[in-house]
Amino acid sequence: MIHHVLVLVRSELRNERRSGEVATVVIPFGAVAVLIIPMAVGIDRPLLSQIGPGLFWAIVLLFGIVVTQRQSGAAERPQHDLLTLLGVDPAARFAATAIASFVLLVAFEVAIGAITMVLYDPVVIGWGWLAVVLPMVAAGLAMIGTIAASVTSGLGGRGALAPLLVAPIAIPLLLGAAQATEGLRVGAGILRWVLVLAVVDVLLALTGVLTARPLEES
């Protein structure tokens, strides 16, 4: 099963390298959002420095949905049927799509995070914790997005429905991440928020793996 997952992850990432959907469309789109928000809220450097981390997480949530709903090679009907005939476990397919989305979301977070640092100049203490929080949020968002993509697969209006399914469910991730970053800014403990993120991630992983087969059958 692990071999299947690795092959599928490589295939997903190869598809992304060829299409460049995240690198050439979603990251620039997110960067534009980071750029235009100060024009809406006012160019006040102390204010922007304070709200920068929160805006970063909001952009990661909203644009991260686009990353998770990108074209997936394994989700196309012929490939999907082929994988079923080859006996690839639906849970392996879920894990592979989620891992590929996770990798792309981490890349997205790093790129948008760097732009936010340059443009907003936020004060962040405890960089080591960010190396924990960023992947945890990416993992949660990747799993919610993968489940939503499977649930809406083949439906009319999927483009509008999938973000509606993902965005409200991802709010605990957004709150946990924003509270953790705020805790780092003011020098408070953030272990509680890391635990919240970890619990949400574990529950999503269990749900995704356990429901992969019924989703396959539907």
Binding site: I144, V151, L164, P168, L175, L204, T211
Partner: protein, 236 residues
């Protein structure tokens, strides 16, 4: 049985209304506090309804029986109504007490998020054709959506906000006077009966909808019409 529950629901709502108006006003908030007799039961029913949706979703995935899916979908629909009522009554209470209709408190934001999660659940149900396909997909989303429920409940403990922490469901003694607690529990009981009555009716409607969807339309020919006996009218 259903009729009995409906009559009991109407009766208990009337009694709860009388009790809610008869008990003394809150020593700090005065009569404003009486809106809690609607707000708290509505919030409780939101949890109950979405918890039942979770049970129905798991039940369908385990048994493949459509009655679990109807239970899940019907409960979510009633739950959305009560969540909307909890948000509206909370907002009406918040204006005179907090000075604003809405504030960025974790409990409020997460309750609104839960409202949208289940609106999305209902939108998903409407998007999927075929009872079994719809049941499977919405069951999975119903399980994922339930992750919100504990987060909403514990938000007042995890985040320091304006919304008060639990008053009744707390480890130490309830922080509420006995007459007010009695009126509140009566309202909770009455609202729960209303929920059960509405849920019963909605499940009946769901059964009728499924029958209607499965029934052949008037303009459809049944399979095998080509080999049924020729009708005399066609030969004239």
């Amino acid at each position: 049985m259903k009729r009995t529950i409906e009559v009991a629901a109407v009766g208990s709502v009337l009694i709860a209304c009388v009790a809610g108006l008869a008990v003394p006003p809150d020593s700090v908030q005065g009569d404003l506090q009486r809106i809690m007799y609607v707000h708290v039961p509505s919030a409780w029913l939101a949890y109950l309804a979405f918890g039942i949706t979770l049970i129905g979703s798991v039940g369908y995935l385990v048994t493949d029986k459509l009655r679990w899916d109807r239970l899940a979908g019907s409960s979510a629909e009633v739950g959305v109504v009560f969540t909307g009522l909890a948000l509206a009554t909370g907002s009406i209470w918040g204006k005179p007490v907090w000075g604003v209709w809405w504030t960025w408190d974790a409990r409020l934001v997460l309750t609104a998020a839960m409202f949208f999660v289940y609106l999305a659940y209902l939108a998903l149900r409407r998007s999927v054709d075929g009872a079994e396909r719809r049941a499977q997909r919405s069951a999975i989303f119903g399980i994922v959506a339930a992750l919100q429920i504990p987060v909403v409940h514990f938000s007042v403990i995890w985040w320091r906000g304006l919304h008060q922490p639990p008053t009744i469901l707390r480890p130490d003694n309830p922080q509420i006077d006995p007459p007010l607690l009695f009126a509140l529990l009566l309202a909770v009981f009455a609202f729960t009966l209303v929920y059960v009555a509405l849920l019963n009716r909605r499940i009946d409607l769901a059964v009728a909808e499924d029958l209607l969807t499965d029934a052949p339309r008037a303009d459809e020919h049944v399979a095998g019409a080509a080999v049924t006996a020729p009708q005399l009218g066609d030969w004239r």
